[in-house]
């Protein structure tokens, strides 16, 4: 027997404790800036433009001010700290006002990355998440902890920018502004190993994914399953419930025993290199519940 509050609590997708540190992450910061800036655009210009600009610039850096003050002397060329470092997992070098940390071994123990950052005086972690091809090199999120703004000054992606993973010289990379004194973690998508389940959510029809070129939405389960199988892709089927007023949900524990070949597919989600999840409903609906309308063309 459990307490009713606990029973309700257990149904929560996340607890507030799980979100700790997000207020200083990239998502929170850019939202704050966009809200405050948008309002400025609409505000009557009652003060000289010069002043207003100053204030706007202030937003971006104000929360970092404390860090910036103690930053430079401590980190740039301070005694005992390297300006480049490499171990088997990662190599870090300073380029201008940024540290660029290239991942040499994306399957290394994450402690090796932290060790490399530490060697140049940074308290930064890197967590690589198995991702579908279109998620590789994408920042999943940037988090951190501490009183300052740990996400500010951190970035991630592919190095050189825009390169194709798997080609020579192309690597996952983290960038850190010189002077960064926070404690941060970058979550970055890496190539999944054979059979490894993806951690990201991507439509399987996107360019680069397993079902690219195949139209899956608004077709029948039978058709899509067959054409996916012709590509060597297995399909699992999940029945979704459209929400009133948009969106959808699904109930892993309440899936029907069988799904008809004539049921309707609305989207295929990449699960691993050879498996997709078809999101289906029994009836054909007026609009695609996954997108509240037609599936956007750029996902096809």
């Amino acid at each position: 027997m459990t307490n009713m509050n606990d029973q309700v609590g257990a149904l929560a997708r996340v607890r507030d404790e799980d979100l700790r540190g997000r207020a200083s992450g990239a998502g929170a910061r850019t939202l704050l800036e966009s809200i405050v800036e948008a309002e400025h655009v609409h505000e009557p210009a009652v003060r000289p433009r010069r002043v207003r600009r100053f204030v706007m610039a202030g937003v971006a850096v104000s929360t970092l001010a404390a860090a910036a003050v103690i930053g430079p002397g401590l980190l740039t060329d301070g005694p005992g700290l390297a300006t480049s470092y490499a171990n088997a997992a990662m190599e870090i070098e300073r380029r201008g006002d940024q540290w660029v940390a290239k991942v040499k071994d994306p399957y290394a123990d994450h402690a090796r990355y932290a060790e490399a950052f530490k060697a140049v005086g940074l308290d930064v972690g890197l967590t690589l998440l198995p991702s579908s091809p279109t998620g590789v090199g994408k920042v999943v999120r940037i988090g951190g902890s501490g009183a300052t703004t740990p996400g500010k000054g951190l970035g991630g992606g592919l190095e050189p920018e825009g390169c194709q993973m798997g080609t020579t010289g192309c690597a996952l990379a983290v960038t850190v502004d010189v002077g960064y004194t926070g404690k941060g973690v970058v979550y970055l998508g890496r190539t999944a190993q054979p059979g490894e389940r993806y951690d990201n959510w991507a439509p399987a029809t996107r360019e680069g994914e397993a079902l690219h070129g195949l139209k899956v939405d608004e077709r029948t389960v039978g058709e899509v399953r067959k054409e996916a199988a012709e590509r060597g892709i297995r399909s699992v089927v999940t029945v979704i419930d459209p929400n009133e007023g948009g969106g959808y949900g699904y109930h892993p524990d309440k899936q029907p025993d069988s799904v008809g070949d004539d049921w309707i597919v609305w989207e295929a989600q990449a699960l691993s290199a050879d498996e997709v999840r078809l999101l289906v409903t029994k009836e054909r609906l007026d609009k695609n519940p996954v997108y509240d309308g037609p599936k956007p063309a750029d996902l096809g």
Binding site: M1, T2, N3, M4, N5, D6, Q7, V8, G9, A10, L11, A12, R13, V14, R15, D16, D18, L19, R20, R22, A23, G25, A26, G27, A28, R29, T30, L31, L32, S34, I35, V36, A38, E39, R47, V55, G58, V59, S62, T63, L129, K138, V140, R141, Y187, D199, N200, W201, N243, E244, G245, G246, G247, Y248, G249, Y250, H251, P252, D253, K254
Partner: protein, 179 residues
Amino acid sequence: MDERRRSRFEAVYADTYEQILGYAVRRCASPDDAADVVAETFAIAWRRIDRLPGGDEARLWLYGVARNVLANHRRGTARHQARTVELDLDLADLYATTPDASVERGVIATAFRDLPADDRELLALVGWEGLERGEIAAVLGCSRNAVRIRLHRARKRFARALEAAGVQVDRVALAGRQR
């Protein structure tokens, strides 16, 4: 003046972002919806910064705003603004790994989902946001006594639904937090 407003907003934002994010993520089926709710809630807070109460009441006031934004969103009348790519990314991973584990937990979840929306929201404000009656009254804009009565009824309905589904209910716990 303007800078004072801004620093106040930044302080409230830093204090409440994670809680409003949690509120939205727990109630929205998709990261897009949750991002809209978070973005619009804080956009409203900034526009009404002069009316934003101080202290912990700011959080309760924001829950109330988020609740209205969510209702508008469900009616399809929401504004779409202020969302950023970074925010979308931040939210995407909250949904990336959860559907199997937490969206549904069998009969309890079904019983909960089938409750009237007002009951669900009351029980959620207690079980998810951890609010007391007085705080819920502030969020919903009603009296503490009204909250007490409505919460009692919601718990009874939930308990009945759970029992009907074969889940044992702790009768003592049914009374909830007596704070």
